[in-house]
């Protein structure tokens, strides 16, 4: 026998909230800020994860990397100090020949790099990383120029030390702003190289090295520019996904013949991805937890205002009781008001969080998820219930004559 009906109570609560618009907004502000920041932070975390996953996809799914130094610890996380745990910073040509000879059904690509300014007849780019590798690298890393944008370099050019170079999209635009870079000359460390291809635009980056800013040349050319034959990394392409683990074991076996187990790392992209994802996951949870504190603060704000509101409306409560409101009707009315306030805050927060995600999306990958929306909204409503109970109970327990006498 709920009288008034839930509907009536809802209506009357809405009316009372609408009568105090500025109070409503100020009260909800805590919840609005809390929900907005929870949604924004989870969006950024999720966006970061999928962005990194995309980047790793671009690395090639079947790729295995061999790096000097110990990168991972035994738990799969990153080792402390990273590559600095060993003095060894590169591999030799002998390692390359050994790997090539012993690994069957795989493609072994040596990678080296050097830094230099790059000049064209139009512009100069300072301190650019120039990566060197072999013909296979282009296909393996998904950076072969598409039709009409030139080509990747060949093994023949590598062995003959033909001075050719492939530019990333952005760097090609900078060096040759007026027309296509293909066929043009650039100067690196006094050496003239011919641009044979421009890699397609790959899109935004988070400030790290991007394919759009990359410069690729044959391994032998980069070795000449660097003045040393050292190999920074090997990329080994396994024939298929299932062969990754066995290939990794095989590589470790070959390398252990020559090096200590802490002197090198063998890993594939999924391993790296998992490690990075677990770091981002922990960060996201920590940041979201901090943001969630503001939800609780918002809840306390609602409780304060509702307690003030009970005092402010003491006469109204007394009157309602005198004319027939039973305690539970008053309790439910005040509880509904608190819940409406927090749900309103939650709703505005979800909208602001969504808009904010869209806004930062233009320069930072962010991705809103349904689960974060549901969680933030659910928590904010829960906060309303939890913090609404105390004021509502206080209101329902007021004695009608005391309340009517209240000035």
């Amino acid at each position: 026998m709920l009288k008034p009906s839930f509907n009536d109570l809802l209506k009357s609560s809405f009316k009372s909230i609408l009568k105090n618009k500025s109070r409503t907004i100020l009260t909800s502000l805590g919840i609005i800020i809390g929900v907005t920041s929870v949604i924004l932070l989870t969006s950024i975390g999720n966006g970061l994860k999928s962005y990194i996953a995309d980047q790793f996809d671009a690395l090639g799914a079947n790729s295995i990397f061999i790096s000097p130094g110990k990168i991972f610890n035994d738990d799969g996380g990153f080792a402390q100090g990273g590559m600095a745990t060993t003095l060894m910073t590169s591999f030799t040509q002998k390692d390359y020949l050994l790997l090539k000879r012993k690994l069957k059904n795989t493609v072994v690509m040596p990678v080296n790099a050097t830094y230099s300014d790059i000049k064209s007849s139009f512009a100069i780019k300072k301190n650019i990383e120039i990566d060197g590798s072999t013909q296979d690298y282009g296909e393996s890393n998904n950076v072969v120029p598409s039709e009409g944008n030139g080509r990747w370099f060949t093994n023949e050019e590598n062995s003959k030390k033909t001075p050719v170079v492939v530019l990333g999209y952005k760097i090609a635009q900078t060096l040759f702003p007026k027309s296509s870079a293909v066929g043009k000359k650039i100067i690196i460390k006094g050496k003239t190289l011919t641009v044979v291809g421009v890699v397609d635009q790959k899109g935004a980056s988070m400030g790290g090295p991007s394919v759009d800013d990359a410069v690729y040349a044959p391994f032998s050319i980069v070795a000449d520019l660097a003045g040393k034959e050292d190999i920074n990394t090997f990329v080994v392409r396994a024939p298929n996904k299932d062969a990754i683990d066995s290939t990794k074991k095989e590589i470790s076996k070959i390398m252990l013949e020559k090096y200590d187990k802490d002197a090198f790392s063998v890993f594939d992209s999924s391993q790296l991805l998992n490690s990075i994802n677990s770091i981002i996951g922990v960060l996201t949870i920590a940041l979201t937890g901090i943001a969630a504190i503001s939800l609780v603060v918002g809840g306390v704000g609602i409780m304060n205002i509702m307690l003030v509101s009970v005092t402010e409306r003491t006469r109204e409560i007394g009157l309602r009781k005198a004319i027939g409101a039973y305690p539970r009707a008053i309790l439910i009315q005040f509880l509904i008001e608190a819940i409406i306030l927090s749900c309103f805050g939650g709703l505005v927060g979800v909208i602001l969080g969504g808009l904010g995600t869209l806004a930062i999306n233009s320069f930072f990958p962010a991705k809103i998820t349904i689960s974060s929306v549901i969680m933030a909204f659910g928590v904010s409503s829960l906060v309303g219930i939890v913090f609404g109970v105390a004021p509502a109970r206080k209101a329902s327990k007021l004695s009608p004559i005391e309340a009517l006498r209240y000035e």
Binding site: P4, K19, R320, K321, G324, A325, Y326, A329
Partner: protein, 234 residues
């Protein structure tokens, strides 16, 4: 006393038996009502008067089921209300009693129509009938043109008429008024008293009102004078 004898054959709607109300403040006890017995008959127009602090408001609160006596019995329509639960008392206040206050106690920023409908929120009256009931009563108190006005836009006399319409909305048999003209100018006060007379004589409602004004109290069929928590004269 002649007036009382003429009421003797009438039905008693509310009876107080040996009501005592004691307040304890620290070590002091104070009796607001001291062994008060009283019968209220159906259709009578009764006033309760006395100096301030005499206990007349306390008496009114007990009659209105807003407060429990320390001892004694309250019998409403033959039913002892001592054992009733809070929500049952609320229901009786909603349906059987209509309250009019000195301070009007209208909800601020709320229209006359919504104010009059407020008690219906806690009643069984179907929602679709509610505006019509309220409208009819606002017409009765001559405020048909003020249904959308909020209390701030009404004079004191108009506000009290809205409050009376609200008291009538559940068609109660008994109207309880606590200093209903206390905040009004004399002209509005007269109008309000006229309205009470009308409700009593034409509609047969039982009216009980509290006032400190002896002249006003004499307008009633019966006047009860209370002093120091005791009834002096019936």
């Amino acid at each position: 006393m002649t007036k009382l004898s003429s009421l003797n054959n009438k039905k008693v709607v509310l009876e107080l038996k040996n009501i005592t109300k004691t307040y304890i403040t620290g070590t002091n006890t104070f009796s607001a009502l001291d062994n008060v017995s009283l019968k209220i008959y159906e259709g009578e127009f009764m006033s309760i008067t006395g100096p301030s602090g005499s206990g007349k408001s306390t008496l009114m609160h007990i009659i209105g089921l807003l407060d429990n006596p320390t001892s004694g019995e309250v019998i409403l329509n033959g039913r002892n209300i001592a054992k009733l639960k809070e929500h049952q008392l609320a229901q009786i206040r909603n349906v059987t009693l209509g309250f009019v206050f000195q301070q009007f106690n209208l909800l601020a920023k709320t229209t006359s129509l919504d104010n009059v409908m407020l008690p219906l929120l806690y009643s069984d009256i179907p929602k679709k009938n509610r505006p019509n009931i309220a409208l009819e009563l606002l017409q009765k108190v001559n405020l048909a043109d003020k249904i959308s006005n909020t209390p701030a836009q009404l004079s004191a006399g108009q506000q009290q008429r809205v409050a009376i319409a609200r008291a009538l909305v559940n068609n109660p048999k008994i109207i309880l008024a606590d200093e209903p003209t206390g905040n009004l100018d004399s002209k509005s006060g007269i109008e309000i008293m006229k309205l009470f007379h009308h409700l009593n004589e034409k509609e047969g409602r039982t009216i009980v009102f509290v006032t400190h004004d002896m002249d006003l109290a004499k307008q009633a069929n019966r006047t009860i004078i209370i002093k120091d928590g005791k009834i002096l004269e019936k």
